[in-house]
């Protein structure tokens, strides 16, 4: 814990991160973009397609993971540009000021992300996590509750990674072992001892993955239960076979049980071409805490409101886990709400303690932030930002 008592009188008041300068080079629509900010909030407005989300994406890429679009590194370089790209920022946080940079080279298979901290190459993304965290809400997440469980697992995985940096590596290894086992089952006649070995790895990593997700859901649920909010509170739980096994007994027994299940399922999994049991089938269940209604059963408006409160809960959870309130990135989040809810949205977002970044095509909807934010109107030229 790096919480600084002087700055953090309560659990929700961890010192927040803020960007002071952002520089983009050959990033999506931007050739060379630079922005300096001082306020607790930054508003990005301008017509659709002008590149507001690109700026938020660049910020999200300064934290571990693939950013708010989940993009491949090669897809980020400016079209008709040299191929490589970079995003850099001066970041203020509880540890002081740091300069973070991420980017990829122009080479064809430039699939490895380059990370720099204070001008020195850093070994991995975890170096970023010490200096900056971000939580975001984008229009792509509007269907989080109704679409497949995949997105919801990814959502939890990202939160789990904030307190358990090894989590993402374990999910990748689990999936890799699962694919290998399935490949052997499909072609048939595989060495049973090879399958044993893969299933042992799947069980060990799968149970660890499920445990970290359960912990993330538990913390998120806690964070959703408190705080003053005008939005419906969510209750969060992760459900699935491995979660049930973990609830029933110690992790080692869950591992043995998953291993036995996988061994018993070989014929069936091979025939079906899918793995029936494992944490890749788990789901994050979100309900309205007051009414008990499943989030997916709510109207579009109700879902959006629940999503906002879940996002705020995630920000509180991250702040508690790492002692630093994350940046909050809200992409077109105000559009669904009436003026009263919009006021609440911005007030509550600012109260979380991290710098708030808000984008919206309709500047009028962002008016509650005027006087509290650096205001950036993006023109069609993209590169030319006018701060007003």
């Amino acid at each position: 814990m790096r919480r600084q008592p002087r700055l953090a009188p309560g659990p929700d008041r961890a010192a927040g991160c803020a960007l002071r300068r952002l520089t983009l080079t050959n990033f999506r629509s931007y050739g060379d973009f630079r922005l300096e900010t001082e306020a607790a909030a930054v508003v990005l407005t301008g017509p659709n397609g002008v590149g507001k989300t690109n700026i938020l994406e660049a910020i999200s890429l300064l934290t571990p993971g693939r950013g708010l679009r989940g993009a491949r590194l090669q897809a980020i370089g400016r079209r008709d540009g040299p191929g490589g790209w970079a995003a850099a920022a001066t970041v203020e946080g509880p540890l002081g000021t740091a300069m973070l940079g991420v980017g990829a080279d122009a080479v064809q298979d430039g699939s490895s992300r380059k990370v720099q901290v204070d001008g020195e190459p850093a070994k991995g993304q975890t170096a970023l996590a010490e200096r900056l965290a971000a939580v975001w809400l984008t229009p792509q997440m509007d269907r989080l509750f109704v679409d497949g469980a995949d997105e919801r697992r990814r959502y939890l995985d990202r939160l789990a990674a904030t307190f358990d940096p090894a989590h993402i590596g374990r999910t990748t290894a689990y999936r890799n072992a699962m694919r290998q086992r399935l490949a052997l089952l499909k072609e048939g006649g595989a060495d049973a001892r090879w399958l044993d070995a893969l299933e042992a790895e799947m069980a060990a990593r799968g149970v660890a993955v499920a445990a970290a997700r359960a912990e993330a859901a538990h913390r998120l649920d806690h964070a959703a239960a408190d705080g003053v909010t005008a939005f419906p509170r969510a209750a969060v739980q992760v459900v699935g076979l491995v979660e049930d096994l973990l609830a029933d007994g110690p992790a080692l027994r869950a591992e043995d049980a998953l291993r036995a299940r996988l061994a018993a399922d070989r014929r069936r999994d091979g025939d079906a071409g899918v793995t029936d049991a494992g944490p890749h089938r788990s789901d994050m269940a979100v309900v309205d805490r007051a009414s008990g209604m499943a989030a997916a059963d709510g109207s579009t408006g109700e879902q959006k409101a629940l999503l906002v409160s879940l996002t705020f809960a995630a920000a509180r959870m991250v702040a508690r886990a790492i002692g630093m309130a994350p940046l909050l990135l809200l992409d077109e989040a105000a559009a669904h709400f009436d003026p009263v809810r919009r006021d609440a949205l911005f007030d509550e977002a600012l109260a979380l303690g991290g710098q708030l970044w808000v984008s919206g095509a309709d500047a009028g909807q962002l008016a509650p932030l005027s006087g509290r934010a650096d205001w950036l109107t993006l023109g069609q030229s993209g590169d030319r930002a006018i701060i007003t």
Partner: protein, 199 residues
């Protein structure tokens, strides 16, 4: 534009691990401009390697003799075998002076997606050596990657009927870390703290 022969040299150099096109051009220039000091000795060294170096038929090490110096050395502890993925890993152990027994180089790890199967690795030879009288312990020193761990598990099952003690390097290896890059002290510690593998 360099002459075709020079271009071919640059291309060959650029295919070496750790050398990109730019460093390959620098290396080629360096060689060409110093025929006596650099080019001839390199040519001789390459020819020597081609003529004399072979793979040890017992352990898979690369050496001037077959069996290799390690397999011939009577001072080596004949009760213990250390299984590594690649010759580079064997050399890392030797640099660290961490292991007094002999080695067995697998030649890779199992990978269903890359099409590396048990028969593609030096596993039959390992079982044979592990079954030899006097051998009491096999240390599995595959990398801490998923494929490295899976392979270790698999080998533990294959080795079970031989009755030898099968151990695994202590944890603490970075995931995805390769033995070759670990510093000598880390390697010695991982070896000293090795423990029986759970099957």
């Amino acid at each position: 534009m360099p002459a075709p022969a020079v271009e071919r040299l640059i291309q060959q150099l650029a295919r070496l691990p750790g050398l990109g096109p730019r460093s390959a051009r620098r290396a080629a220039l360096h060689l060409i401009q110093r025929p006596e000091a650099a080019l001839s000795p390199l040519l001789r060294a390459l020819a020597d390697v081609q003529d004399t170096v072979r793979t040890c038929s017992q352990c898979g090490n690369i050496d001037g003799r077959d069996p290799c110096e390690i397999c011939r050395d009577p001072e080596r502890d004949a009760t213990a075998l250390c299984v590594v993925e690649r010759v580079g890993d064997l050399w890392a152990f030797e640099r660290a002076g961490a292991f007094r027994g002999r080695y067995h180089v697998l030649g890779g790890v199992l990978s269903a997606l890359d099409g590396v199967r048990p028969e593609d690795l030096a596993i039959d030879g390992l079982i044979r050596r592990a079954s030899a009288p006097g051998l009491t312990e096999v240390v599995l020193a595959t990398n801490a990657t998923l494929d490295g761990q899976t392979t270790a598990h698999y080998l533990a099952e294959r080795l079970a009927p031989t009755g030898v003690a099968v151990t695994r390097l202590a944890h603490g290896m970075p995931v995805g870390g390769e033995l070759d890059y670990l510093d000598d002290g880390t390697l010695a510690t991982a070896l000293r703290l090795r423990r029986p593998i759970e099957r």
